[in-house]
């Protein structure tokens, strides 16, 4: 791991760089070299909260949440924010190749309202929605924009301004996801100089992870847009 790596952080800082969207979407761009790398520990989503009596009865929390950590770098250029996420699944899964195959995925989660307690474990609640940027290996690098107001309520918005680039190399997923700070669709509002809670979730497709059966960052972390 690089020497600028920090484990289990409370706070992630996205510094401002003078680089274009095209530049920052490149996975080997020198623009990323100086950014600090954070390692986030992940845990299984609580089985008790699964909104399915079937999943609750047939899964074991120990077998959920195969991705135990992801590393992340964040940058912004004043107009757009970028997240460079890396993780190593046991096996790669890129598509819904068959009925019993699920693709790898990663998502960033933000509370949409300021000053109101938004439960991350429930992906928000009725008056405290969350916004997810959902990248999936079979989405052609077109992540979905999703709004959720509590368990089993997530819905994709028609439009998604989230963009991405990705690569599978040396048994590792590298995904850059980004978005303009301000967008038209129903989504989190971001601004340079501000702070936002951030959560992350990841699915190991080869282990049958999908929906609520996933790993997540346990708590909100603070994202600082410097």
């Amino acid at each position: 791991m690089a020497e600028n790596t920090v484990t289990t952080v409370e706070q992630l800082v996205a510094n401002k760089v003078a680089a274009s969207k095209e530049e920052l979407l490149k996975l080997d761009s020198p623009a990323w070299a100086g950014a600090k790398e954070y390692v986030l520990e992940m845990a299984a989503t609580p089985l008790a909260n699964q909104p399915s009596p079937y999943i609750k009865a047939t899964r074991d929390e120990k077998e959920i949440g195969k991705i135990t950590k992801v590393s992340m770098k964040c940058l912004h250029n004043g107009k757009e924010v970028f997240f460079y996420i890396k993780w190593t699944p046991k096996e790669r899964s890129t598509s819904i190749g068959d009925l019993n195959i699920f693709p790898d995925a990663v998502a960033l989660l933000f509370p949409m309202k300021e000053g109101i307690d938004t439960p991350i474990k429930e992906m928000g609640k009725e008056d405290a929605p969350t916004n997810a940027w959902y990248w999936r290996a079979d989405f052609d690098n077109k992540p979905k924009n999703q709004v959720t107001q509590g368990l089993s309520t997530s819905l994709y918005t028609e439009k998604s301004s989230v963009f991405a680039n990705s690569e599978w190399k040396d048994n590792e997923w590298k995904v850059v996801m980004g978005r303009a700070l301000q967008v038209e669709e129903d989504a989190v509002k971001l601004a340079a100089g501000g702070k936002k809670p951030l959560g992350i979730a990841a699915w190991e497709g080869a282990a049958g992870e999908r929906g609520g059966v996933k790993a997540f960052s346990k708590e909100w972390r603070d994202l600082v847009l410097a």
């Binding site: 609580p46 089985l47 399915s52 009596p53 047939t58 009925l99």
Partner: protein
């Protein structure tokens, strides 16, 4: 399970919240399962000739396009056989029923593969038509170019293994979604996308809510759900609800050559379904051991008598082993056979048998209770 361990670290508030959420889920599922009436189908296996007209009627009505091409919401398989998808009986799912039905513990199921269902084959029609007579044969290929190894009714007419002429046997088993009273698919869906219609108990998957997670397919012990690879949602038999709403019977039932299928509300005491299921109790659900309480019922198949080594009729045991019938339709099947035989004899003796009258279905439209309208003229 492991959640107990994790619970140790939870604050009292968090524990309380978990309990609240659990209760909420149970309440939502109860609501989605609630019905005022239940529609059901009875299939008389003594009359099914395996013609697949039901399957084709369903295909033409519902599964011809938009990613549904490989689906057979209605299947007809030869029994004993491996079924569709292959060996679905052994794929888990359903419930362990405890305390006389007060508790249903979900059982984990497996996900079959697309090829186990039978894929959407391509045929070399062009090649056959354009080549010299006798130089090429009709061939099917899976979309990935491989040769098919299974399909709906792949083991057609093979029947019982190890039983030789003159005592060999087989029969056909048509299947649709059972529109179960306790559908494990409904319980499994973390999106609450699956529900029973309150007015008639038809089980539907809300296509706007479904995100294609396939927990429903995993949990359905009958494996009667398909995944649409174009729409990325799960889809299944809808009991022809748009027809039902117009008073028209299901396409599979109306097209059936053999007058095999009866359709009606279970509680319509004058109707054929009530008479066969509740009054005469000759129609039974498939695999009651799965604990889902299906709303598709079968009149079990009788067979000609067995012959002994000398070729004489041997009435000491039935041709189709009772054990096999019990496995399929539960222990009640014995009583059902007794009644069927008794009523058949009465009819043969020239006496009137109400049960035989219903099963013979001389008046076709009577088979469908209030759903006796013609699809051409129904509005």
């Amino acid at each position: 399970m492991a959640e107990v361990e994790a619970n140790k670290q939870l604050s009292p508030e968090e524990k309380k919240r978990q309990e609240e959420l659990a209760q909420q889920t149970v309440a939502i599922k109860d609501e989605l399962r609630k019905t005022k009436r239940q529609l059901a189908m009875v299939l008389d296996l003594n009359k099914c000739i395996g013609c697949q007209l039901c399957s084709m009627a369903c295909k033409n009505t519902w599964t011809k396009k938009e990613g549904r091409e490989y689906m057979w919401w209605n299947t007809v398989n030869t029994m004993p056989g491996k079924g569709t998808p292959k060996d679905f009986e052994k794929s888990g799912g359903g419930y362990k029923v405890l305390f006389e039905g007060k508790v249903r513990e979900p059982i984990r199921g497996n996900l079959p593969t697309r090829k186990e269902f039978g894929d959407f084959w391509k045929f070399n029609h062009e090649e056959v038509i354009n080549s010299k007579f006798g130089t090429s044969v009709l061939k099917a290929t899976n979309p990935d170019g491989t040769a098919p190894e299974w399909s709906m009714n792949w083991d057609e007419d093979q029947g019982a293994v190890g039983i030789k002429y003159p005592n060999s046997f087989f029969f056909y088993l048509p299947r649709i979604c059972n529109h179960c009273t306790y559908p494990p698919c409904l319980d499994a869906c973390p999106r609450h996308a699956i529900y029973k219609r309150e007015e008639d108990g038809i089980v539907l998957i809300d296509q706007n809510r479904c995100k294609g997670y396939r927990f429903c397919l995993e949990s359905c012990p009958y494996k009667k759900i398909y995944f649409n690879f174009e729409k990325l949602t799960s889809q299944k038999c809808i009991f022809c609800y748009p027809r039902i709403e117009k008073g028209v019977p299901n396409a599979c039932a109306r097209q059936c050559t053999g007058r095999v299928r009866f359709v009606d509300y279970v509680d319509n005491e004058q109707g054929p379904v009530y008479q066969l299921v509740k009054k005469w109790k000759v129609a039974l659900p498939l695999f009651p051991k799965f604990g889902t309480e299906p709303n598709v019922f079968y009149v079990p198949p009788l067979a000609p008598p067995r012959l002994d080594e000398t070729g004489k009729v041997d009435l000491s045991k039935p041709r189709i082993p009772l054990k096999y019938m019990v496995d399929l339709f539960g222990p009640e099947v014995e009583q059902s056979f007794k009644l069927l035989q008794q009523e058949m004899e009465r009819a043969r003796d020239g006496e009137k048998s109400e049960l035989m009258e219903i099963l013979m279905a001389k008046r076709w439209k009577k088979m469908f209770g209030p759903f006796d309208k013609d699809p051409e003229t129904a509005v």
